[in-house]
Symmetry: C2
Subunit: 189 residues, 2 copies
């Protein structure tokens, strides 16, 4: 499904995450990451623009897959259900890297700059979804509203999944969250 380049990239990611958690993101250098991974700095820069990008390089694939799942959703679906379909379609991207996702979240939650970056990334995802909805003929403000709902579901479901004691599937938590969103908005929350 995803196109994560194996080995060198994976080793760099693993080394970076370990160091960010041991010493903090701000204190870790690219040299240390490369060293821990048994690779050169040059190799690091072949995969990542800087140490922050180790945490955010998945954003492009995520956006691509969200948008193409939305484009592929049956045209009979309402805007909110098409968005729900798209969000569920990317659950697998996270599922296959649950351990990475958890550790990444722990690093981000301790650094204000990384949190800002994460928020901006989510905002771009919402814009991309709204664009895709407009291509489906959904008008404003419905397109932006449905897109924002989708990203809210993605974010909250992700947080629940990261902390889930029962190891439920992310796709299922997303489905539940969307249903809860519908109940809340219908005044039943």
């Amino acid at each position: 499904m995803a196109r994560w380049k194996p080995d060198a990239r994976a080793r760099l990611e693993k080394a970076a995450l370990a160091l960010y958690r041991e010493h903090g993101f701000a204190q870790t250098t690219v040299a240390e990451i490369a060293d821990r991974a048994g690779l050169t700095e040059r190799t690091f820069f072949r995969y990542f623009a800087d140490k922050r990008e180790v945490l955010f390089s998945g954003a492009d694939v995520l956006q691509q897959q969200l948008v193409s799942a939305l484009d592929d959703a049956p045209s009979a679906l309402s805007a909110i259900d098409a968005v729900g379909r798209a969000v569920e379609a990317v659950a697998g991207l996270f599922e296959q890297r649950r351990d990475f996702a958890r550790k990444r979240q722990a690093v981000i939650s301790e650094n204000a700059e990384l949190q800002e970056r994460e928020r901006v990334k989510l905002a771009s995802l919402a814009s991309a979804l709204a664009d895709a909805l407009r291509r489906r003929g959904i008008r404003e403000p419905a397109a932006s509203l449905a897109a924002e709902m989708g990203i809210t579901v993605l974010r909250l479901a992700f947080e629940r999944w990261i902390n889930d004691k029962e190891d439920r599937q992310l796709a299922r938590i997303m489905r539940d969250s969307l249903n809860e969103l519908k109940l809340v908005t219908a005044g039943k929350g």
Copy 2:
């Protein structure tokens, strides 16, 4: 006139916004802002921690008023309608400074760092609303979902109001946006 402190703050804000728009946020210094306002740098720092805070100093009052409006909303209201009530209650804060709000938005939309800061501010507002909802006995994830819906309505309604050709009241645009959100979530978008 210059001796009145409330006036000094307003003059600094006006001077800062003018300079941010003329030369860009990054290029403007506190010395220039004070100079344009006919005041000293020392006076500037009596009101603002730095040049970024000229744009964000309203956030505390906004959060306070949102939360107290939510605390005051009738307990019979559903979570989403209580949030809608709170969001509408702060429309006046923006209405009384429409010109400032517009110019501020123009500055923020041209600077990535300011956009990140704005997003983080909105995220804190959502957290504060979710806390207030839990105090009303709303459980998770309903509290977080309703809070996120409220901030989405606030943000999108604000953007529409800033660009509104018909000069409609922000409170009315907020009400319309919440209704549209309900329609979209009910699959009618």
